[in-house]
Symmetry: C2
Subunit: 434 residues, 2 copies
């Protein structure tokens, strides 16, 4: 259903009228945009292009991720938002009551974990760095969409989606001034619980701040035109960045045993209820793993395992913790753990893998190591720029795959949000409509 | 554990004495081997090379698969073997008692299913055709290992592994005459329940007929040297063969809706107990799907779903049947079903997909179609030859990945069988030992 109705919608919208005004100042730089904010607000003519079907900049590049508390004081709010997210943890009608309750109970334990990794998550630092560096590359690689302005929108921590949106208004996007923005998920593999949740949140705030709830109409004149980079599990640059970090770790073993080292890819698990609903994540994570092993020439044996299961319900396995325990028990003590579904360090690497798995499960065995997270890897940042450039050139509003709801999906929010973003095809670049 | 002990074993065996005699008649053709069987049996000098470390032919190419009953009369024995297989359906110590019991109860129902598809499975016809055609190609592509002699070894139907082994003896392999054989799994993606089971069965019969049980020693002089092609989930030729059959089916839809067709890849499911043990199959199936979609340019939305669940225990989903029902209910009636984990037609395509899913679940909706199975596809047969050629050139006894037991594995049979086949590296081509 989703796809064909979306296609119809897109085609109808192709004929919808869209504002056109002077692209005169379109060449102003990002810095200029930021410093002239005040005056910009006052004048109807603005550096942000008014023709949202043109490919002129500036272009807002918005990194979407779950985020993490920067200090232990932020853990409470972080968990409260996390457990209130029905896309991540479906608690039904009791969500808004149970969410805060569960999070309050878990806060002290999680605060200790963040304290153990230095008091907070580095994910904001890395996200802002990666996005800013990518934008610098994009300004050179894609001058026709420059300047590229970096934004970060976290799902459960600052900066939240609404903060990002307000900042975009301050910088001259939307509110009658149009402009082009790309929502770039930082989860390489798509799950309804992660990228899906961020996209639904973006859709919610877009409607509240400049969509139907704000103005009464679905597409008010001069609203921001959005497109989405919704997945990139086997992009060659991403694969290369992972492979290079694994090779660096392999090089720490003596050459005569190097090929006997077992590579354990670890990704955040999902409840089986989500897997059985048709969530594409497990298949996309597996695709990344296969691509990385192919790039490494399959010289080592490997397994994909799943971490961070919580609660009594059934989750997808095999579990990372059990896997390491079993191999170490059998004497296979040369293991490299590879976080394959996050692009920077976070509690799941710094606490769960480094402390719980490597120290406790593997008893600090020197043969058990972890590949470095992508963090500031220049290969990775170049890959981000390549993914973005490819997306901007394609003129696509989102992937075909994003338009299809899971076979077991019953979420109206998912349906409407997918319709909206796929419908944006009518504005991103009609010439490119497939 | 597995890997390092295997490596040690292989290195020890490198120094083990191996028979060397005249390669004189090594150039005799396959046909000659077969027709001269009687005389061959009589003479100690034989066309099969006596130097198993050389790369001279003949080379036995053994296609391993589950097989299927050729007639409804064979269903009983087929099911009896299937339910007696602890690698496929672990019933513990009661296996030999419960297996026949369950199979007897299910036989009439399954006989009806085979009757509905014409009285038997076409899998033997296709396997023998594919193997013979591949051998013809290999004789040209790899003259140094020619002639390539085609064999089929099914796990639950004729020809069984022991029949294949006896035929190889008749054709002049083993029994003091050495010779080289390649066990080529016809499951592109590795599961302990499928390829693992066939490999364990091959190991069992090898030991009974020419190994330690037959002669008292592990590696009697002139026994057959085995190597294994244990997985090939993303081989470009395999991917191309799948993609071409999907494109042919897409071409049956009007061009204006072609990109809105949803592609549903369907693979045989696994019990969650096997998935959680660390079975590599779900990840390898997902890798095939991603490679095929990449080859197709991701112009269509898709899902990977799982079929053939039986019994009360939890299996990996989403289920193919439910998926089709849900999409059809939502009005998404343009669906192409793609059997992605079998290489020829069998009961799961001809009965389960064509009759149960397409007729019953999709009410014969004309928009719901199935991509043709690979069967006689020349692209697929060329791919088989490419995979085999690559294996023969590599000199590897099996993949690194095959040497690693699942993290949750407790099967001694798996351990010993893996040790044996990885140990064959000492004979296949020591020069190529990694």
């Amino acid at each position: 259903m989703a796809r064909s109705s979306i296609a119809k919608k897109a085609i109808q919208q192709l004929t919808a009228p869209r504002p056109l005004t002077l692209p005169s100042q379109a060449s102003l730089t990002h810095r200029a945009c930021l410093t002239t904010t005040a005056s910009v607000q006052a004048t109807p003519v603005h550096p942000v292009t008014q023709d949202s079907t043109s490919k002129n900049g500036p272009t807002a590049m918005v990194f979407m991720n779950m985020g993490g508390p920067a200090t232990t004081d932020e853990v409470g709010n972080f968990l409260s938002r996390l457990f209130s997210d029905g896309d991540l943890i479906p608690l039904g009608r009791l969500q808004n009551f149970l969410g805060p309750l569960i999070s309050k109970r878990r806060t002290p334990k999680i605060q200790k974990q963040y304290a153990a990794i230095g008091g907070g998550s580095p994910i904001r630092k890395w996200s802002e760095y990666q996005c800013a560096e990518m934008c610098k590359l994009l300004d050179k690689m894609s001058p026709e969409t420059a300047p590229h302005m970096p934004y970060v929108a976290f799902r459960y921590a600052n900066p939240l989606t609404e903060d990002m949106y307000e900042q975009m208004f301050k910088d001259g996007f939307g509110q009658g001034r149009g402009g082009r923005a790309v929502a770039f998920t930082q989860y390489p593999q798509y799950s309804c619980s992660t990228t899906g949740s961020s996209i639904n949140e973006l859709w919610k705030w877009r409607n509240r701040l400049e969509g139907k709830r704000a103005s009464g109409e679905m597409h008010p004149e001069g609203s921001i035109t959005w497109s989405v980079i919704d997945r990139w599990p086997t992009h060659p640059g991403l694969v290369e960045a992972f492979a290079v970090n694994i090779e660096a770790k392999l090089a720490e073993y003596p050459e005569n045993i190097r090929d006997d080292v077992v590579i354990l890819f670890s990704a955040h698990s999902l409840p089986m209820s989500v897997v059985n609903r048709g969530d594409p994540y497990p298949a996309e994570v597996a695709a990344t793993v296969n691509a990385v092993m192919t790039r490494l020439g399959n010289k080592n044996a490997y397994r994909l395992c799943w971490q961070s299961q919580v609660g009594p319900s059934a989750w997808l396995g095999a579990q990372t913790s059990e896997t390491v325990k079993n191999y170490v028990k059998r004497g296979q003590t040369n293991l490299i753990l590879v976080p394959i579904a996050f692009t920077s360090d976070h509690i799941e690497t710094l606490y769960e893998i480094d402390l719980e798995v490597m120290e406790e499960d593997a008893h600090n065995n020197p043969g058990v190591k972890r590949a470095e997270s992508l963090n500031g890897s220049p290969i990775f940042i170049q890959a981000l720029a390549d993914v973005a450039k490819q997306h901007l050139d394609s003129g696509m509003s989102c992937s075909r795959q994003m338009g299809l709801r899971c076979q077991g999906c019953t979420s109206e929010r998912c349906l409407e949000s997918k319709k909206f973003f796929a419908g944006e095809q009518a504005y991103t670049n009609p010439a490119f409509v497939m």
